[in-house]
């Protein structure tokens, strides 16, 4: 008995039930992009550092480039394609547009997924907590300040800018 190489998974992706078999070594990013054509999921560094490939599994952010598809069995998966269906997801998407929080757009899906998980786990996150949490996602266009502003708006906080250079204080 060598163990199954073809794994049966029963999962829910963006609210839709998905039941299928996948090779044991199939990475989640490849399953989502190639099998389900959810191409919002981007391959960036491929070593779980940049966050471009972030998706939510069971509500938690994961690096889909380093996550086995087999591990979504019995859990829900969310990508950007499913964000608009929830009020907090739609609000974040609008906030990113409003603030112009994307340039090339490559890091954006990962940023949105990270922001969505933050909104859910820490709806009262402070500006510092936003920065800390979002620092796990990299943007090569260095659009960071507007991204942080957008997350702040997505958290339902009023106008006011997070994205200012810190002053040299005490």
């Amino acid at each position: 008995m060598i163990g199954e190489h073809e794994i049966r998974i029963d999962t829910e992706v963006n609210g839709a039930a998905v039941s299928t078999t996948v090779p044991s070594h199939l990475l989640l990013i490849d399953f989502l992009r190639d099998r389900l054509e959810l191409t919002s999921v981007k391959r960036g560094c491929d070593v779980e550092v940049c966050g471009a490939c972030t998706v939510l599994v069971g509500g938690l952010p994961v690096s889909s480039c380093c996550y086995l598809t087999a591990d979504v069995d019995g859990k829900s998966v969310q990508t950007c394609e499913g964000m608009g269906a929830t009020p907090e997801g739609a609000r974040l998407q609008d906030a990113f547009l409003e603030h112009g929080a994307l340039q090339c757009g490559y890091c954006t899906p990962g940023m949105l997924m990270a922001a969505l998980s933050l909104v859910r786990r820490s709806p009262d996150a402070s500006d510092e907590e936003i920065r800390q949490y979002m620092s796990g996602n990299l943007c090569r266009c260095t659009g960071y300040s507007k991204i942080v502003d957008a997350v702040r708006t997505g958290l339902g906080r009023g106008p006011g800018r997070v994205g200012q250079a810190p002053t040299r204080a005490s």
């Binding site: 060598i2 163990g3 199954e4 190489h5 794994i7 090779p23 044991s24 070594h25 990475l27 491929d46 070593v47 779980e48 550092v49 966050g51 972030t54 938690l60 952010p61 994961v62 690096s63 380093c66 996550y67 086995l68 087999a70 591990d71 990270a114 998980s117 933050l118 949490y133 620092s135 796990g136 996602n137």
Partner: protein, 292 residues
């Protein structure tokens, strides 16, 4: 990456039997945040992954004088636990510093120490707290202090058929204050110093513990530096010399090998500065405790 068998045993006995049966061909996979990377780059090529998800190792339990952290508890699960935050605030902080939110959501405590990557805050903090690794084959359970469990870079004393099932962390004794300082490049902590001070009723340090992590292959205690702090009053003038001397001793006595991004020489400079900071931070907490 070639396909592998995925096995999810229902008991630790079964897991141990599988590990024995498959030997080198099997690897334990918990969260997979380290292992999947190795598989992708061909640095590991097992025929079989033994999963731990059905073994019920994801609990956090209070026991007599200690907190038992299940091996498959995730970093964010532990750092978010009010029980861990209350009993082991430094460990909770270290956990919330690991890598990024995705690694914290999926990576496990057990996986972190079994992988034994030197650049681990968690290992250093576990050694500071005299935490104990609990290893099991189902039939037999063995306890080893984490400091002894970690034997070198990517190396532990886990036997092939054993599963790490929990880490038991003793509650710090009353009148104990801790501090910890770290230096990080990107996601990698390069130097970490943890300090724990027990203060007697007269306001003098009765017991000190200093651990340097990440700079060498494993976390190391620096007893010579600890001795310099013992007997010193937490409000006394002696601190003006004791702290710098302890910091210098940590820098001189720790292990600090050259690496691509930091030389051993530079790491020692960091150890000196971070030792001073973590001792000062522990002292500050100690003074708060004695005022209350």
């Amino acid at each position: 990456m070639r396909p592998f068998g995925l096995l999810s045993p229902e008991t630790v006995e079964e897991a141990a039997a599988l590990l024995e049966e498959f030997g080198d061909e099997a690897v334990i996979c918990a969260g997979g945040t380290e292992l999947v990377l190795l598989l992708k780059f061909g640095l590991a090529d097992p025929a079989v992954l033994v999963r731990l998800d059905r073994l019920g190792l994801d609990g956090i339990e209070q026991a007599e004088g200690l907190l038992r952290l299940g091996a498959t508890v995730t970093h964010s699960g532990a750092s978010g636990s009010s029980v861990v935050q209350a009993a082991l605030p430094l460990v909770a902080t270290a956990l919330s510093n690991i890598a990024n939110p995705r690694v914290r959501a999926v990576g496990t405590l057990g996986g972190n120490i079994c992988f034994a990557e030197p650049h681990s805050d968690l290992s250093a903090l576990f050694v500071l707290h005299e935490a104990v690794a609990v290893l099991s084959t189902g039939a037999e359970e063995r306890r080893v202090e984490v400091g002894d469990f970690l034997t070198g870079t990517l190396s532990t004393s886990r036997r092939d058929e054993e599963v790490l099932v929990a880490v038991e962390v003793p509650h710090p004794p009353p009148r104990t204050a801790g501090g910890y300082a770290r230096f990080v490049i990107g996601e990698r902590p390069n130097v970490v110093v943890g300090c724990s001070l027990e203060v007697d009723p007269s306001g003098a340090i009765s017991r000190a513990r200093l651990v340097v992590g990440c700079a060498g292959p494993t976390p190391v205690r620096i007893p010579a530096a600890e001795d310099l702090l013992c007997g010193v009053a937490i409000d006394g003038k002696e601190l003006d010399t004791a702290i710098p001397e302890a910091a210098a001793t940590c820098a001189a006595r720790c292990e600090a090998h050259d690496e691509d991004d930091l030389s051993g020489w530079y790491k020692r400079k960091l150890v000196q500065a971070l030792s001073r900071r973590s001792v000062s931070s522990a002292l500050e907490r100690a003074r708060e405790l004695s005022v209350r």
